[in-house]
Amino acid sequence: MTTMNEFELARRVFGEPEDDAEARDRLRGRLLDAIAGEPVRLAARRRRRWRAAATAVAAALTIGLVATLVLPSANAAAAAELRRLGRLAAEQRSPDLAPGEFLLTRTDELRTEGNSFLDSGVSITVVSRVRVSTWIAGDGSGFRRTEVISSDFASPEDRRAWEEAGRPDVLPAAGEVREERYAVGAVTLFDTSELPTDPDRLLEALRSGAVVERASGDDQVFLLVGDILAFGNARAELRTALFEVAAKLEGVRLVGTVEDPLGRQGVAIYVDGANARTQLVFDPRTARLLAIADYPIADGAPGPLRSWIALLETTVVNSPPSF
C-alpha cells in the first residue's frame, strides 16, 4: 500500500525534468528565426490587405500610406534581442584588475589583406589565419602577440598575379610571430574607463570618433561596439550600455541562430554599411561575444565571409608576457 495518489504516482513515473539550457537555446534560436522572418511576412500580408482596400482610395494617397504605415520596423527583433543580451551582460562579473594584473584575451582570426604594387599596378590578396593574444593592464597599457597559423592566396588569380610579379614576399609564413608593446594611452580602445554608460551619450561618443577614429556610419559604430566587447575589459554597466547603443542603430538586423567560424552556436546580429556587412555573434546564454564577421557587399548583396575574429578566452593573469 502507498500513500501516493494517482497524480503523484504519475509525476514520479514520468520523472522530474532536468534543467536543459542547451535545449532552451535551440528552441530560442528557432523562435528568433521565425521572429526575424516575420516583418517580411507581415508586410506582405498587410500589403495584400491594402491592395484590396486601395480600390477605394486614391492611388497617390495609398502609396503614401503604405510607405508610412504598413512596413513595420525591421530592426525591432534585433533591438529586442540586443536588449535581452544587455540584461544578461549586466549579470556578468566585471574584470577587476589589481596592480600588476593583466586581462588576457585570446582570439583566432581570419585576415584578408590586399597588397598593391604601385609600380606594376599588380594587386595580390592574401588570407591568413592568426592567433592573437592581448594583455591589457588596468592603466590601459598592454602587449600583443600575433602568431601566423596558416596563410594562402585569396584565389587562384591572386596566386597567378604573385607568380607573374616575381613572387614578392607577401605571404606570411606559418609560425611567424610578431610581438608588440603598447604604452599607456597608446591605444585608446583599451581604455574604456572614461566612456559614459548613458546610452545616448555613449552613442554620441562612439559616433564622434572620441573612442577611435573611424569612418562615420552605423556599421562602424556597431563594429566598435563589437571591438570594445571583444577586449573584455568593459565594466558591466558599460557592456549593458553598449548593447543598448547597438539596439538604437537604425540598420541593426537579426539573423537568428548561426554557427560561428569555430562551430559554436550563437545568435547573430548585423549592420550593413556601404561596402561591408558587420555581423556579431553572441552566446545566447551569457551575452558573451563569440565572433565578429565581415562580409563584403557588392550590388547590394553580401558576398562570402571575408574575415572574422573568434574570441577564445578572456581571463585575468598576474604577469605580463616575457617579451
Binding site: N5, A10, V13, A23, L31, E38, S73, A78
Partner: protein
C-alpha cells in the same frame, strides 16, 4: 514587462515582444512535452508549440490571466497526433527503471513508484484520449482544473468528470494505490 495578455497584444505589432512569452514559459512547455514524449520528440513538440503560438498570437484570449494553459493546450493537441511516439514513450517507461538518485535516500515513495510503474503505464495506455489528456495536464503540466478546461477548450464540468473517470480507472487497475479519495484532491479548484 506586463501581463501575458499585454505582451501578446504588443507582439502583434512588434513580433520581437513574443520572446518574453517564450522566456516565461519555455521551461514549463519543454518539461511537459518531454515528460510526455521523451527528450528528443518532446523538444520538437516544444519548438512547434512556440512557433504555432507565435503565428496565432493575435488570437490569444485577451481576458486570459496566463498563457500557460493555452501553450500546454497546443502541446496537448500536437501530442495527441503522435500516437505512435506516445505509445513508445509509455512502453519505455514501463520497461526502463526510474533513474537512481545520485545520493542513496530512504524514499519509500520512490520504491512504490518503481513497483507500480508498469501498472500505471498500462492503465494510462487504456484510458480514452480525452481522459488521459485531462489527467496528464493536471499531473504533469501542473494545471488546475480550470486551466485544464481552458487548455482543452471544454467546460470545467467536463474536465472534472474526465479526471474523475480517469482516476477511478487508474485505481481500479492499480490495486495498491491509496491516498486522497477521488474528488477531494486539492488540485480540484472548482
Amino acid at each position: 514587462m506586463g501581463t501575458d495578455a499585454e505582451i501578446f497584444r504588443r507582439s502583434v505589432g512588434d513580433p520581437s515582444a513574443f520572446a518574453d512569452i517564450f522566456d516565461r514559459y519555455v521551461d514549463a512547455v519543454l518539461a511537459y512535452a518531454r515528460r510526455r514524449l521523451g527528450a528528443v520528440e518532446g523538444e520538437e513538440i516544444a519548438a512547434r508549440v512556440f512557433l504555432i503560438a507565435f503565428e496565432k498570437r493575435a488570437k490569444f484570449d485577451p481576458g486570459a490571466e496566463s498563457a500557460k494553459p493555452w501553450l500546454l493546450g497546443i502541446a496537448s493537441n500536437l501530442i495527441r497526433r503522435k500516437v505512435r511516439d506516445e505509445r513508445e514513450r509509455l512502453a519505455s517507461l514501463a520497461k526502463v527503471p526510474l533513474p537512481i538518485p545520485a545520493e542513496p535516500v530512504d524514499d519509500p515513495a520512490r520504491m512504490d513508484a518503481e513497483r507500480l510503474r508498469p501498472a500505471l503505464v498500462e492503465a494510462l495506455t487504456n484510458l480514452p484520449v480525452g481522459e488521459r489528456e485531462a489527467f496528464l495536464l493536471v499531473a504533469l503540466g501542473d494545471l488546475t482544473y480550470e486551466e485544464t478546461a481552458r487548455a482543452l477548450r471544454v467546460p470545467i464540468g467536463t474536465v472534472r468528470s474526465r479526471i474523475h473517470r480517469a482516476r477511478a480507472h487508474l485505481r481500479e487497475h492499480i490495486p495498491d494505490l491509496e491516498g486522497i479519495p477521488v474528488g477531494t484532491d486539492k488540485t480540484d479548484d472548482g
